[in-house]
């Protein structure tokens, strides 16, 4: 089987496709022009990071390394989504509304998570989800603030 992960990875970060999909996410919320520009910049930055990764490890002998890096990237974006989700919903709970930019950032992070998963086998995705949950759960338990333990 031909090794084409770098090409497929570059495709999921295709600037035009990502831009179109981001505009659809932005259309779902009432967001300021400044926030919209900021999100579009962040989206392009992430897409560029993905293409850089694909370019850096483009040879078949780099496959193991690239899969490992892809898993790390998935985890990074999954945790990023978790943070945006928590910020938006804590804001909603405390102040009655969530900031549109946090909502879109959450959708964008998970959009990339989903794009990366399209390159993986279901059992690889399941493995990543299990590891992400384990990390989140253990960090919650292990990093209780000193004030709360008194």
């Amino acid at each position: 089987m031909k090794y084409d992960l770098p090409q497929r990875l570059s495709r999921i970060a295709d600037a035009d496709a990502v831009s179109t999909d981001t505009n659809a996410l932005l259309a779902a919320v009432n967001i300021s022009e400044q926030a919209r520009t900021m999100v579009q910049h962040e989206v392009r930055y992430t897409a560029n990071q993905i293409r850089t990764l694909a370019d850096a490890m483009g040879d078949p002998e780099d496959a193991d390394e690239l899969y490992g890096a892809l898993a790390s990237l998935w985890l990074e974006l999954r945790l990023q989504w978790q943070r945006h989700n928590d910020v938006a919903n804590y804001d909603l709970m405390r102040h009655g509304e969530a900031k549109p930019i946090d909502l879109v950032r959450g959708s964008v992070s998970s959009y990339y998570v989903q794009r990366i998963e399209s390159l993986l086998q279901p059992e690889q995705t399941q493995c990543l989800n299990i590891k992400a949950l384990a990390i989140i759960d253990s960090l919650r338990q292990d990093f209780v603030s000193p004030a709360e333990t008194v």
Binding site: A28, N89, L92, V104, G106, V113
Partner: protein, 124 residues
């Protein structure tokens, strides 16, 4: 006033798939750990998760990852531990979807020990 009618609540715990699927909002029955026992059609369509995939998976950690925090899963665990849970609140879903405003009600039916999560769309 809750989007879940008292008439529907009165049918708990004998809500079957047909009754659940007939509701114009999400109906999810979970065990004390959060594992899904019943997942209705409305919820499946909102989340884009097939019923066959959802049932048997953990609602809070595997199916609705947005709810895996103290605001939702924490409330659920506390309520189950107290054998007293009936709370309704606004929430937003963003995982692999457009930002979606929802209202969530979580209810424990103490006599049967069954737990229910209801989800409805709301305007921003």
């Amino acid at each position: 006033m809750s989007f879940v009618t008292p008439q529907f609540i009165s049918q708990i715990p004998s809500v079957d798939r047909n009754v659940a699927d007939a509701q114009p909002y999400g109906v999810v029955q979970v065990d004390d750990q959060g594992v899904i026992k019943l997942y209705n059609k409305w919820e499946s369509e909102l989340a884009g998760v097939p019923i066959s995939t959802a049932e048997g998976s953990n609602f809070f950690t595997q199916v609705a990852a947005c709810t895996n925090n103290r605001l939702v899963y924490g409330k659920f665990k506390d309520g189950v531990a107290r054998n007293d849970l009936d709370t309704e609140f606004n929430y937003t879903f963003t995982y692999k979807m457009n930002p979606t405003n929802v209202r969530i009600r979580m209810l424990r039916h103490a006599p049967s020990g069954s737990n229910w999560v209801f989800v409805n769309r709301r305007d921003a």
